[in-house]
Subunit: 338 residues, 2 copies
Amino acid sequence: MDNERITLAHGAGGQQTAALIERLFARHFKNPDLTADDAAILSLDGTRIAMTTDGFIVSPWQFPGGNIGKLSICGTVNDLACMGARPRYLTCAFQIEEGFSLHDLDVIAASMAETAKAAGVTIVAGDTKVAGRGQVDGLFITTTGVGELLPGVRTGGALARPGDDIIVTGDVGRHGSAILLARGSYGIDAAITSDCAPLWPMVAALFAALPQKDVIHTIRDATRGGVGTVLYEIARESGVSIDLTETAIPCAPAVRGLTGLLGLNPLYLACEGRLVLFCTPEATASVLDALHQTADGASAARIGRVAAAPAGRVSLTTELGTTVLLPPPSGELLPRIC
Amino acid sequence: MDNERITLAHGAGGQQTAALIERLFARHFKNPDLTADDAAILSLDGTRIAMTTDGFIVSPWQFPGGNIGKLSICGTVNDLACMGARPRYLTCAFQIEEGFSLHDLDVIAASMAETAKAAGVTIVAGDTKVAGRGQVDGLFITTTGVGELLPGVRTGGALARPGDDIIVTGDVGRHGSAILLARGSYGIDAAITSDCAPLWPMVAALFAALPQKDVIHTIRDATRGGVGTVLYEIARESGVSIDLTETAIPCAPAVRGLTGLLGLNPLYLACEGRLVLFCTPEATASVLDALHQTADGASAARIGRVAAAPAGRVSLTTELGTTVLLPPPSGELLPRIC
């Protein structure tokens, strides 16, 4: 490690990020509460809580469908929601570049407040640091959230089982596409808005509709690295194989058109308002029914199934009926969205 | 606000930081749980907890007495300790510049793990983002902590009362001086180590020694902005006047020498291991006695007293017996340490 340097790939959420966490952070911080899940499940004076943190950088700071403020609330709220935790309290730390516009900061803070309200979470503490010009790219926001666990819910990336159905709660690749277009570097114009949304209301409605909460084994939000990266993570953590049905994966025509033009895979474009869920096949109909009645889950679809072996593999059955390997995530994100 | 821009002073922890928080963040985020204290006091499923967040930037990343990793744990642990909360769980978010040395990152993570252990806190979640070269100055770390409140303890910046004694738990200005020297820009050499330390063990020992916990009204750690800034904050929040006895303020000869040479006021240099405490005068002897028996409180001293009026004023009785106004904090920190 002595002469090695951090590369952009270490922050892209793929294999190199996993390797950095494993080799460096996990080695020093190792403890039973630190897992690969979206949030830690903890005990405080006998009360079970969930806790998670996430840092947000995005350029440009606003995009169709949101801005870095909304994103910073959604990211943390959604990580708690994935563990079946009702988001209660949030902290936010700002690192702002000297010269950043106060008007823009005001727009961002207003958006954070509005999104927190929609998610039912209270912002309880903050921190503001200013870095000199050129020492930070505009604005970084780090949010941390704690939440109360719903009784009877136990989800985790290592809990997917052979036979489980895989559901995605909406069309894929919107956020990555919206950011890419907002940068304007390709001279392409398309009406794509980010899916960025706080998903706790959807998760709460889902669990409220299910008499047996334990039919849901895994929930993860497909952010950095997209649905493809999340599926590879779960296949590895649960030691299972995943088979996707390509034609079942919802994807907006504009996103398909853009990714086709640029040679990108929509399964590897970030979402900020989409969950991947694993449930028992007997529960699939009720889960889809509950999701379809929510604003953010209207186009939820079953996109695949879990098999026992080979562990860690993600395959895709194409329109032609051919089964191919989904290329594993690695290296730098295209586009870099965080 | 339309044409205003963020300046370094907005992040210096003085009047301009307070104005930014008041005018912008507090306006949008306003709620009863968001206070000016070091940590928020919250209720989760009926359990009372404390929660706080802090972002850390320091150049150079290591200095005599610590590094950014140790600092990032101490800062958050100490904010919880100030509220009488036993630190339990911590999250850390890294924003790393492309090209940062993995070896250095390993040293930093090892230091975080060691400090967390000393403070009795568990690191339960993390996040890693990488920014391109020049988009972040080396490494930013944001930590967030939650803790369990000690029964019977209630401290806060608005709870200081006329008649209270003011205690500082050790000599002032070490951290700011150590950073200033570590930069090497003045060509001055002096043996000054930072006071950077996790203070929960000291606070726990203090409360354990006090039969009546409510004799302590206010505890705050004198970080960014130093003891002077903290005293002005408390004078304003509690609506009281503060009178300091200059000769009683502990300050190492090397720090005195350095600050004298550079024309800096040690009361405005950052500490990272010093608390300012307000207690009833009847309890002062027991508080000092308990502090003197701890490693980090060995040189604790009574440095002043609270009066009713004029509210918001901090004055200093000098060696000559003259009473002068302590210059209020404002503008950029010298040196900038975060």
